[in-house]
């Protein structure tokens, strides 16, 4: 049914917002321990829980309401200072946040709600929360109960609601708010105000022009009533007259509403909020005694109800403004739509290359000129399209604060996370895939990197260990570093283990980097004690595989006693690269442009796998041999010098064909085993070109050279 879709959309908004609130809550929980004055953060935590509870209620998600309510009660006591937010409570509240998150996930999957009391995990958390509510039972009853109820018994409020024109269009139905309101108390009287509803001719059937005057009897406080309308507060005007208000308050209300005083007076009387006599008297008194001054005073007082009410209103307003501000700045777009756009841009680039080729063949200068303008524009479109998918890495980094907090507790180490370069942007698809490998690296740094507190004291280091995450851009790549200030890698132990596992041939001299790289080999683990985090011998090799699958690479540097830095280098995007085309026989290969250093003429004696480059030895690979390209080498071959991770090597090719954009098409499964090729691309002519995987080729070149050197020695 159509209305299900409507509800789905709003529910989707709820889910997204709930997750954002949970993230806020988590961030605040994590920073609260470090703050001199944590009141702001505690308020933020409380607000997050409170808002989640409120909006869950709106959707009838009673399980979330029930659970969050208990957490909120505890937070309320924290806010009052009745309970201290110590480390244990922070951990408990983090776990509660996770639990709420899982309940939200369940809502998203459309699963039935599970009563947290009936669920073992939920019940356990609730029991632990309950402890914090019970410690001072007597004061708790007074402080946690809604303030309005403290006076005892239900009270009679008057609500005046006018919905804005866009409410219905935004997927909100005023009816559902009224239904929800009815769950908080009793709607004694409700008068629907049809005055603003025009005749059919003038009606905007999708705009809302309804208003309601409601006499509401409840035990909840004003904030709770306002909360009911939180989702529409920007789109509706809500005026609340508290219980026991003077008639003047109602007069004030009447004056602030569009319907005339007599009409409204009548409605208020119908609601039973004031009696006709009271109203009449009040209106007359006001008319008699210096009305100008009095109205001025009333206007000045407008909105100034009780101080706590004003504060609540201001907070609401600020929140409203904040959300609106960010809404103006950003638009949520389906990732699928973006992917489609980028695919199309890819096709556009191929098509432009094709048109270019034809233009060149026809030797029509004007056409070529136009084509080149077009190509420039397409390039700009490509850049902007890719930019759309760029996200800051900060959000990913921040997730690790929680990981570090939890893992440090688990390990009994005092570790903090330092984050820098959060604003560095990279492709969303890369961000999504880098989370797991980074998680592994961070856990590894904490588990193996940071030494025990005793060891740190021995070495004269601060008791608190630091794991740092850093990100920056470097020539077409993004570099992410995970560092620790721990003991560093033990070269000898790694080498010994490498020998034991048969990963290193005895007697071979290795650089530090080569030795350290061993820890990325499958089945390598030097942890003497196996903890439940790592040390299971799986992990680092998986990390490397995942990173290489993203066309990235990983390296490691370490200083004994000072710490270890793992550097992950990733391409900025997975979709399109600037490529340098080279020809071997009839085949065309593409080398990522940012790796091409220079091109030189091929000159080497037959049989040798290296040549001289300005006095340096340059190893090279003959692509013809590597890929078994048929045909004889051209009379004049060239070497493309490629640079990667600070090292250079050459690729021997027949022809240099120049720069061109390459839209990367993934290789089909059949070619998964082929090493040295990272993807394919379609040329303007329609031919397929293979994209060379330079890091892998370099590794092969080094292995070949190493083996040759070893054989020679």
């Amino acid at each position: 049914m159509a209305s299900d879709i409507n509800l789905d959309q709003v529910l989707q908004t709820f889910i997204v917002e709930a997750r954002e609130l949970l993230e806020d809550m988590e961030a605040a929980l994590l920073r609260v321990a470090d703050e001199a004055d944590p009141r702001e953060s505690i308020n933020a935590i409380f607000r997050a829980a409170h808002t989640i509870k409120g909006s869950s209620g709106l959707f009838g998600l009673d399980a979330i309401v029930a659970f969050t309510h208990v957490a909120e009660s505890v937070l309320d006591r924290v806010r009052d200072g009745a309970v201290t937010l110590d480390e244990g409570l922070v951990a408990l509240l983090l776990a509660c946040g996770d639990y709420i998150g899982r309940m939200v996930d369940a809502v998203e999957r459309g699963e039935p709600q599970v009563d947290p009391h009936a669920d073992p995990e939920g019940a356990a958390l609730l029991a632990r929360l309950q402890v914090h509510l019970e410690t001072h039972e007597a004061p708790a009853a007074v402080t946690t109960a809604a303030p309005a109820a403290a006076e005892g018994g239900p009270a009679r409020w008057h609500l005046s609601l006018r919905f804005g024109p866009d409410v219905l269009r935004n997927g909100m139905d005023p009816l559902s708010f009224i239904r929800y309101l009815a769950t908080l108390g009793e709607i004694e009287h409700l008068v629907t105000i049809p005055d603003a509803v025009p005749a059919l001719d003038a009606l905007d059937p999708e705009g809302c022009c309804l208003g309601f005057e409601i006499a509401f009897v409840t035990t909840v406080d004003k904030a709770a009533i306002e909360n009911v309308f939180e989702f529409v507060i920007d789109d509706c005007s809500l005026r609340i007259v508290p219980p026991g208000s003077q008639v003047a308050r109602y007069i004030e209300l009447i004056q602030s509403l569009p319907e005339g005083p007599s009409r409204l007076g009548e409605i208020l009387v119908r609601c039973g909020s004031v009696t006709a006599y009271e109203l009449e008297t009040a209106l007359r008194v006001q008319a008699d005694s210096a009305p100008a001054r009095k109205i001025g005073a009333i206007l000045a007082e407008q909105g100034t109800v009780a101080p706590q009410v004003v504060e609540a209103a201001l907070v609401k307003q600020k929140q409203g403004k904040d959300t609106r501000g960010s809404e103006n700045q950003s638009v949520r777009v389906d990732a699928d739509k973006l992917d489609r756009l980028i695919n199309l841009v890819g096709e556009l680039i191929i098509a432009t290359a094709g048109a270019n080729l034809v233009a060149k063949r026809t030797r029509n200068l004007e056409l070529m000129e136009r084509n080149s303008t077009l190509a420039d524009l397409v390039e700009e479109v490509r850049d902007s399209a890719l930019q759309l998918r760029m996200v800051k890495i900060g959000a990913t980094f921040n997730r690790f604060k929680r990981v570090v907090h939890d893992v440090a507790r688990e390990l009994g180490k005092d570790i903090e996370l330092a984050v820098s370069g959060e604003d560095t942007e990279l492709d969303k698809t890369v961000v999504e895939k880098i989370g797991d490998p980074l998680m592994h690296l961070v856990r590894n740094a904490m588990d193996h990197g940071i030494d025990s507190p005793e060891r740190r004291a021995e070495r004269g280091k601060p008791a608190t260990g630091t794991v740092s995450l850093n990100a920056f851009h470097d020539s077409g790549s993004i570099v992410i570093q995970v560092s620790d200030d721990g003991g560093g890698l033990d070269r000898e132990r790694i080498l010994a283990k490498g020998l034991e596992r048969g990963l290193v041939e005895p007697g071979r001299t290795m650089t530090d980097a080569e030795v350290y790289a061993l820890i990325f080999e499958p089945g390598f683990s030097t942890a003497e004690q196996i903890t439940n985090l790592s040390g299971r011998g799986v992990g680092m090799d998986v990390v490397r595989r995942n990173i290489e699958a993203l066309r990235g690479n990983v390296s490691i540097a370490s200083e004994p006693g000072r710490g270890t830095t793992v550097t992950v280098r990733l391409p900025l995007t997975l979709a399109i690269i600037n490529g340098f085309q080279v020809g071997v026989g009839k085949s065309v290969f593409v080398v990522p442009m940012d790796m091409v250093d220079e091109c030189i003429e091929f000159s080497a004696e037959t049989g040798q796998d290296y040549t001289g480059l300005r006095g340096q030895v340059l190893p090279f690979i003959r692509l013809r041999d590597l890929f078994d390209v048929p045909g004889r080498p051209a009379a004049r071959q060239n070497i493309v010098v490629v640079k990667h991770a600070g090292q250079k090597f050459g690729l021997v090719v027949d022809a240099l064909m120049g720069e061109a954009q390459a839209v990367i098409k993934p290789l089909s499964r059949m070619f998964v085993q082929v090493r040295g090729i990272s993807g394919s691309s379609i040329l303007g002519s329609g031919d397929v070109a293979l994209i060379l995987d330079v890091p892998v080729l370099m590794q092969q070149a080094q292995e070949a050279r190493g083996a040759a050197a070893h054989a020679a020695s």
């Binding site: 139905d173 009816l175 629907t192 049809p194 509803v197 059919l200 009606l203 059937p205």
Partner: protein, 99 residues
Amino acid sequence: MNSSTFRIDGELTIYRAAELAAAMKTALAGVADGGALALDLSEVAEMDCAGVQLLLAARRSATESGRSLRLAGRSAAVDEVLAILQLTGHFGDAVAEAH
């Protein structure tokens, strides 16, 4: 007879508000001056505020053009909404007439 019946099935909600507004206008125009239009809502499965608003607007149109509008039948869904908004009496007389 100078009375005709306009029957609404299924949803009386924002999704069909524009379509129904136009249809109601046509239906009202087809009623002679001084005549009455009976709205049969007995098959309405769902109604929201847009629906309520439509009924209010239709009634105003009818009144302004010297016609009248009555509800000739109400489904449970319509009854529930009218009860919440305490509009039962608003359209109730018409129902009484219809019976």
